[in-house]
């Protein structure tokens, strides 16, 4: 095939020159699974388990139930680290790794949302391989056999019990951690970061506040949409993305509105978030990462704000891209001929119904912040995977529209 430059827009249909797909986390989903956390984690080689969580979750009593489940399966709880903040940092990761070493742990169990799970992942890498948290940064750079070109070395067994239905970190090979000194989000992705086990039990999202259920649900929505239109798309991920969208359509609003009373909707959202996750994302994430690193905008909220603007922009970039968005619009019965504006309008309404902010100015981002945000978005790995080529001017314009 006579291809143009590899930097030209990649085709969004047909048979690809190359793609790679892996999903190596064992998932168990259903009811009453917290009690068998130990029974299941034992199968992954865990003996002395180090729990990673945050104070809010610990306050709900969930961690105690999981601890009981761990010991019930014949494992020991080596220690509990509950100091993960909403937006975890390199320093927290290093403290967590040191505490696990100190406790003589041999495995990690994360009970929490994206920040807790990502902290556990990177702490596990530091715990296993040494070095600082910032040194773990990079794509596919973890230690390997054969001069770095062979099989990646395993890290200590990691299990995740997500307490939000959104990030999908419990089944992904990526982690995002804030580096406060450089004011950037460090992105780390490699195969050993796939957790060995993910436990999806709606009991773990029973007390989730509606606002957080909405924001994290929109993160899952964004993964499904961005994964589907990314230049790094694959038929494997397409199947997951589209089914994730169907499940989100049927369950997100229910889970947010009815919360505690709707176990089914909560359980299905946990599964939808799982299906939606991919590391092949796009400009929504490129814009949201700096908004989080520089202005503390929660990840799901930032995605909800940016998503409609990016869709409208991308869909104007050619019929191939618009066709991909049309598949997504079909899931939501949005059938206007101009798919970009129609899908964007549908999502903006949904986001407002969920009670989420729809503008950056509502969440403390000033107009003067735009140049630094643009800089951050340009340096984010997901920019290269957006279906429409992005430059500084395009990002500045999208941030302005999102104000």
């Amino acid at each position: 095939m006579e291809a143009g430059s590899a930097l030209d827009a990649a085709p969004l249909r047909g048979f690809k020159d190359f793609y790679q797909y892996a999903s190596t986390t064992r998932v168990i989903a259903g009811r009453d699974l917290l009690d068998s956390a130990g029974f299941e984690f034992k199968k992954e080689g865990a003996r002395r388990v180090f729990l990673v969580t945050d104070e809010v979750i610990r306050g709900t009593g969930l961690v105690e139930r999981v601890e009981a489940g761990v010991t019930d399966g014949g494992l020991e709880v080596a220690g509990v680290f509950d100091q993960v903040p909403q937006d975890s940092s390199t320093a927290v990761v290093e403290r967590c790794a040191a505490a696990a070493k100190e406790a003589g742990a041999d495995s990690f169990l994360a009970v929490g949302g994206g920040s807790v799970m990502d902290t556990a992942k990177v702490a596990d890498a530091v715990f296993t391989h040494g070095g600082g948290a910032a040194e773990q940064e990079g794509f596919f750079l973890m230690p390997r056999d054969d001069d770095g070109m062979g099989k990646p070395f395993d890290i200590a067994p990691l299990a995740c019990i997500p307490t939000t239905a959104g990030t999908g970190s419990e089944v992904s090979m990526a982690a995002v951690i804030k580096d406060p000194e450089r004011k950037v989000k460090l992105e780390i992705a490699d195969f050993p970061l796939f957790p060995r086990l993910a436990i999806l039990d709606p009991e773990s999202t029973r007390t989730l506040p509606a606002k957080i259920a909405a924001a994290t649900g929109m993160d899952a929505m964004t993964h499904a949409i961005e994964g589907y239109v990314s230049t790094d798309w694959s038929p494997h991920q397409d199947a997951r993305s589209l089914h994730a969208l169907r499940m989100i359509r049927g369950n997100l609003e229910r889970a947010v509105e009815r919360g505690e009373q709707d176990e089914e909707a909560r359980g299905n959202m946990l599964i939808a978030a799982n299906l939606a996750i991919t590391i092949a994302l796009g400009s929504v994430h490129a814009m949201s990462h700096p908004a989080g690193a520089q202005f503390g905008v929660p990840h799901g909220v930032a995605n909800a704000i940016h998503l409609p603007h990016v869709i409208e922009h991308n869909a104007g970039g050619g019929s191939d891209i618009a066709d991909r968005y049309r598949d997504i619009a079909d899931v939501f019965d949005v059938s206007e001929p101009e798919v970009g504006p129609a899908l964007a309008a549908y999502l903006t309404e949904l986001i407002a119904r969920l009670g989420l902010p729809t503008r950056l100015s509502e969440v403390g981002v000033p107009e003067e912040g735009i140049p630094a945000l643009v800089e951050g978005a340009m340096g984010d790995g997901t920019t290269l995977l957006n279906p429409r080529e992005m430059g500084e001017d395009e990002y500045a314009e999208l941030y302005r529209r999102a104000m």
Binding site: S5, Q20, F140, R144, D380
Partner: protein, 139 residues
């Protein structure tokens, strides 16, 4: 079969490209916005090019040993580098497959990727001008 038989051949082609870019009035200032020092470590043949990209400072390109301290280190086969400058390597795929490895603040490098497109035809031209048409047909 490697495209280059020794480090000097790498320096005469890819190295020369970096030197030309450092002197380019239009492109050099754009690349220098990265504000970093990048070292390219090539295998087969073993060779190394270190490039200073600092705003407001003159460009510097060193072959082999260098007193410059790199902030970002990119390692790959020289063949991959050659195919990259011909416009035939998708960076995200190459990173995912481990054909390219980028150590350091990756954001600084990723920002440069969209800038390289206008460089591809120059590399082709450079190969033609330096009598290396044989290298144009890399697949």
């Amino acid at each position: 079969m490697a495209y280059f038989k020794d480090a000097d051949e790498v320096y005469a082609t890819i190295g020369k490209l970096f030197e030309d870019l450092a002197e380019d009035d239009e492109l050099a200032p754009k690349f220098q916005k990265a504000n970093t020092i990048v070292q390219y470590q090539y295998r087969e043949p073993q060779s190394q090019i270190t490039v200073k990209l600092i705003e407001g400072e003159d460009g510097q390109v060193d072959f082999g040993d260098t007193p410059m301290e790199p902030e970002v280190v990119m390692s790959m086969d020289a063949d991959t580098a050659h195919r990259f400058w011909l416009g035939k390597v998708n960076v995200t795929v190459a990173l995912a497959r481990g054909q390219m490895k980028a150590k350091g603040p990756v954001a600084k490098i990723l920002k440069l990727v969209p800038l390289v497109k206008p460089v591809f035809p120059r590399y082709r031209q450079l190969l033609e001008d330096s009598g290396r048409r044989d290298l144009l047909e890399a697949s």
